[in-house]
């Protein structure tokens, strides 16, 4: 596993894409085949089944080190990563041994039916054989989430280089569901066998935000505009008589949305549609919060189906009559899509309508009405463009409306994770309500590294309590908080819940006396059409 540990080390330390790419293709060229499939799975978010949980790891580490639990917790808060905390705390190994990555993953899978005591023995013995770098990745295999700055795109590129397969083809080959424990890398990357999985989705094409004026894109006639919907991006696939619904996170979510079941009979085989899953009633989307009631539940109640019915707003057609049509220009795909949706006459399968305008100025005016459409703005898509893979500039742009903003004061702070370990980067903000401060949101991002360092230093000197994860700070620092939406909530003290809150800027010019009030938030809520609770 040393080779894998070394790979992880290079990938997480390097800031240069070329270096990472080089390390990955080097790895794919030299690692044992069985390890490669696992690395492919791990770095594309396919977690092995969990047989040991975080609490167990923590408990056994505390036993092995003899540290008090509170001290372990303090270490964890500073490191910001459980796997790494444990690797740093364990005593030096006494029985060095070396095994490849897939060996350890197999061993972990075998624990599925083991007793707690057997699991404990296995983990403690394993820790005792691994070096520091291996311990870290071993713990990561258990806790999951290798967030080390490797995008799926980068991995695909490395693999494409090693195996000399076009990146787009390769990306499709490794999508969908497959078991890294049984599939070989040859089978996975072999054209004729790789079509066997009927559920396989296409990689999504993602847009960048438009930063320049839209006129820079040339004549408006060359572009198709649509509302930008705020739901779950997804693909509906009908192949070999079966229906599959995938989310952008490459999660198979067919079972969560019974609304789509009728499509199993009506959609022709060999059809793949790209679109957005939204809660939808009376010909308009419902607020995102209603969709949240549907996420994370496998068994949907009748009440939910009535209160939060779901529809699929179709954007694009990727496969038609069994053929991959992504290379055709959008205008042709759109024509086929429009015909298909009209033929279907299914209440849960709709077309995301085109927004037409005579000029960019005219379109800009229409964009201002986005919130009335429960939309975040507009999407601009080049009519002549193919459907690309991943996030690419040029053919698709998101042109969002300006977010809401509120000036608020920081009242609590917590240390961050990963790159932000041992830094106070997670803040809770409050608005005024008379002479009280009412917390209304948390926000994690939006400051520069330099600002983070400054705020961190300030927090360390102005915190009122010292133990545990949360520091109460003197309410002095004012920030402008931006967010995309606001909804009533009875789970929050302030009565509101925000969508995508983040720090827009640090208002060092603004005294606490001049921050916004709870009434200002309620006014925004009414303005956005939400009801107070």
């Amino acid at each position: 596993m040393q080779q894998f540990a070394q790979l992880v080390k290079v990938l997480s330390n390097s800031t240069k894409t070329n270096e990472k790419l080089e390390a990955l293709s080097q790895y794919f060229a030299t690692a044992p085949d069985k390890d490669k499939t696992w690395v492919l799975a791990l770095f594309s978010g396919r977690r092995p089944k969990r047989t040991v949980n975080s609490t167990q790891l923590k408990t056994w580490c505390i036993q092995a080190t003899g540290l008090p639990e509170w001290l372990f917790n303090e270490c964890y808060l500073t490191v910001g990563d459980l796997a790494e905390t444990i690797a740093l705390l364990l005593p030096p190994r006494t029985h060095p041994a070396s095994h490849p990555l897939h060996y350890w993953l197999q061993q972990l899978q075998l624990l599925e039916k083991a007793t707690e005591a057997e699991k404990q023995t296995f983990i403690l013995q394993t820790w005792d054989t691994l070096d520091d770098g291996e311990r870290f990745v071993f713990n990561k295999l258990i806790t999951g989430g290798f967030r080390i700055g490797v995008s799926q795109k980068m991995m695909v590129n490395a693999l494409a280089k090693t195996y000399d397969i076009p990146a787009a083809t390769l990306s499709h080959m490794i999508s969908g569901s497959w078991d890294p424990g049984t599939v070989t890398i040859e089978a996975l990357l072999h054209q004729s066998t790789s079509g066997a999985d009927a559920s396989r989705p296409y990689p999504f094409y993602l847009a960048y935000a438009l930063e320049e004026a839209p006129a820079s894109l040339g004549p408006i006639e060359a572009w198709q505009a649509e509302w930008k919907w705020d739901g779950i991006r997804g693909q509906i696939i009908k192949r070999e008589g079966q229906l599959f619904v995938w989310s952008r996170g490459e999660e198979l979510i067919t079972d969560k949305f019974p609304e789509f079941i009728p499509l199993t009979n009506t959609l022709p085989d060999g059809t793949v549609i790209d679109g957005e899953i939204l809660t939808y009633a009376n010909e308009r989307p419902l607020p995102f919060q209603t969709l949240q009631t549907r996420i994370g539940r496998k068994n949907v109640t009748r009440k939910q189906l009535q209160e939060a019915p779901v529809a699929f707003l179709s954007y694009d057609l990727l496969e038609w009559e069994g053929a991959d049509i992504r290379e055709k220009p959008l205008i042709e795909r759109r024509t086929l899509l429009t015909q298909l949706i009209h033929m279907q006459q299914q209440p849960a399968l709709l077309l995301s309508p085109e927004v037409t305008a005579a000029s960019w100025d005219n379109l800009a005016q229409i964009r201002e009405l986005a919130r009335d459409q429960v939309s975040e703005g507009l999407m601009l898509k080049k009519r002549s463009a193919p459907y690309q893979v991943g996030r690419k500039r040029g053919d698709w742009w998101k042109w969002k409306i300006d977010p809401y903003t509120i000036d608020a004061v920081m009242i609590y702070a917590q240390k961050g994770h990963g790159r932000r370990s041992n830094l106070y980067t997670d803040y809770t903000f409050a608005v005024k309500d008379g002479d009280q401060l009412v917390p209304f949101t948390k926000a994690y991002s939006g400051l520069t590294d330099k600002e983070i360092a400054e705020v961190d230093n300030w927090i360390k000197r102005h915190s009122l309590e010292k133990f545990g994860p949360v520091r109460t700070v003197q309410p002095q620092l004012v920030f402008e908080i931006a967010f995309e939406g606001i909804a009533a909530s009875n789970r929050h003290k302030s009565g509101v819940a925000l969508r995508f809150p983040r720090i827009n800027r640090w208002r060092q010019d603004k005294p606490v006396a001049e921050i916004n009030t709870l009434d200002d938030l309620k006014a925004l809520l009414r303005q956005s059409g939400g009801m107070e609770i």
Partner: protein, 348 residues
């Protein structure tokens, strides 16, 4: 008589060393240890800027620290030096300095009155670095200890191993035709690096902040290698495959970019944690510190035999709580001392 009684009563209730808004104060001897606001008499543990500050009327330090103090605070300061172990008296308070192993001239301050002994550690490490006088434990009743790395995740690798990792990294860079730029605090850490690398690599060069200190110490007779000072006129060809020592403040500056192609290595105890290394955008991080690690702090505390411990700068609340649970009367004290390993611009 009443006045004398009143004075006596106040004196009775005063601790030998107290924590005031100016620094650690000895009332009986009327001097401060590492004060952060100007005072008349300042006893300085070591020449780092968070411990040795401007504006004090008289300075007292270990004698080898004098040139460093003058380099930092100007040649005109009034400074007196004593040797390690030598005693000096202020109003009957006996004061002596003992090696702290943190850097050249770094000292623990031992203060004794009527048989009661306090030691203020300043910054210290237990491992002998080859240049500074090795740390010596001093028995006392009350120990004021730093706790910069007072968490058990901080355990240093023996320096022999660490330096061989650094030299391997340099060799790899040289094979890839890259310069190796190493950032290290200019006073202390940089000399430790130079001393340990001097027989393993040729062609070492330095930022002016590093060579200033280095030249001064060579003049004082320390066994350090001469390194070339990088100036605006140094030709680019000179940087090829070179080892360049730079202060942390030069990180990501135009000054550094001209060494391209280069690999950046950061030497600091904070590099122990991956997240910290990642946000420094370094190519390599080496957890090399002149502070004691967790085990070092515990060992030092135990060796003093102290029954009372005050933990200052760093993870002081955590360290104090841990000691309390081990039966030592320990508490956290807040001071204005920082940590030179994270001061981003120490040269100003």
């Amino acid at each position: 008589m009443a006045a004398a009684m009143a004075f006596f009563c106040i004196f009775m209730y005063m601790e030998l060393l107290q924590f005031t808004d100016k620094g650690i104060w000895c009332a009986a001897g009327d001097f401060y240890i590492d004060p952060w606001k100007p005072v008349q008499r300042a006893v300085i543990t070591h020449a780092h800027s968070d411990h040795a500050r401007w504006g004090n009327q008289y300075y007292l330090c270990e004698q080898t620290s004098i040139p460093l103090l003058k380099l930092r605070l100007g040649p005109d300061i009034h400074v007196q030096g004593i040797a390690y172990g030598e005693s000096i008296y202020f109003n009957g308070v006996r004061l002596s300095l003992h090696p702290a192993g943190h850097m050249i001239g770094s000292a623990q301050v031992r203060v004794e009155l009527n048989g009661e002994i306090w030691v203020a550690s300043g910054d210290y490490k237990l491992e002998t670095d080859g240049i500074s006088a090795p740390f010596e434990p001093v028995r006392c009743h009350t120990f004021i200890t730093e706790s910069t790395f007072g968490l058990p995740i901080y355990r240093w690798e023996p320096q022999q191993q660490l330096f061989s990792r650094i030299t391997n990294w340099i060799y790899e860079n040289q094979q890839a035709n890259k310069a190796s730029v190493i950032t290290a605090y200019s006073l202390g850490k940089a000399q430790r690096l130079l001393f340990h690398l001097k027989d393993k690599v040729t062609r070492m060069m330095g930022h002016g902040a590093i060579t200033n200190v280095n030249d001064l110490l060579i003049e004082q007779g320390y066994p350090l290698p001469h390194i070339e000072r990088i100036t605006p006129d140094t030709p680019k060809a000179a940087f090829k495959n070179a080892v360049i020592i730079a202060p942390p403040s030069a990180d990501d500056s135009a000054w550094m970019r001209r060494f391209n192609p280069y690999s950046l290595g950061v030497c600091s105890g904070w590099m122990q944690v991956r997240g910290h290394m990642r946000r420094r955008n370094a190519d390599a991080g080496f957890a090399l510190s002149d502070h004691a690690d967790w085990n070092g702090l515990l060992e030092a505390v135990a060796a003093t035999g102290a029954t009372r411990v005050y933990a200052t700068h760093g993870f002081s609340s955590v360290f104090a709580r841990y000691l309390s649970e081990k039966g030592i009367d320990a508490r956290e004290v807040s001071t204005a001392y920082g940590d030179e390993e994270t001061i981003t611009n120490p040269e100003t």
